[in-house]
Symmetry: C2
Subunit: 107 residues, 2 copies
């Protein structure tokens, strides 16, 4: 392997989607990738984030259309349900493929 090809691969890093890259959002998006949808309180507690922090990450992913957010009432309590969109899936798959290339360079 030449030094030049090393650079070529690592330059991918500059193209990384930072919305996906942030650890809390990567975690959230990955969970939804696997289980499709879940509610706010469940996710927030499992992930060990404060409600405020979780809420802002959720909003960012929603604005990017990576997830859908639906608010319902269940037993008269509000419940916010998050689910991943096709766009979200695509973004995560792209991210995964980019990161794999970068990490492979370190073998």
């Amino acid at each position: 392997m030449t030094t030049q090809s090393l650079f070529d691969v690592l330059l991918i890093a500059g193209d990384i989607d930072k919305l996906v890259h942030e650890p809390a959002r990567l975690m959230l998006l990955s969970i939804l990738y696997k289980i499709d949808s879940a509610d706010f309180v469940f996710l927030q507690k499992q992930m060990g984030l404060t409600r405020g922090n979780f809420s802002t990450h959720m909003s960012k992913l929603e604005e990017a259309h990576y997830i859908d957010v639906k608010k319902e009432f269940v037993e008269r309590k509000p419940m916010t349900v998050l689910s991943i969109t096709d766009e979200g899936r695509t973004a995560l798959e792209k991210y995964r493929s980019q990161m794999k290339k970068i990490l492979a360079e370190l073998e």
Copy 2:
């Protein structure tokens, strides 16, 4: 695979070393991991960063002792040489192993 083990793995994301995780620094550290050492101007140009930006990333890695920075004069010009430390290698290896686990969860 259970939903619980999914969470167990993804909680790793909360433990990610953000000093390594930032794309520009991940790129820089990865390059040094492979080629051991190189100079400021060469790296900055290859990576396509401004000098200012490169300089601050370099300083952060230096403060963390992930790289060593040596300033010499070559042909009467200042030259700054960066090299990875053992601590830097270890941090990158740990990061790589953590990210691989997270990405593997998405298979």
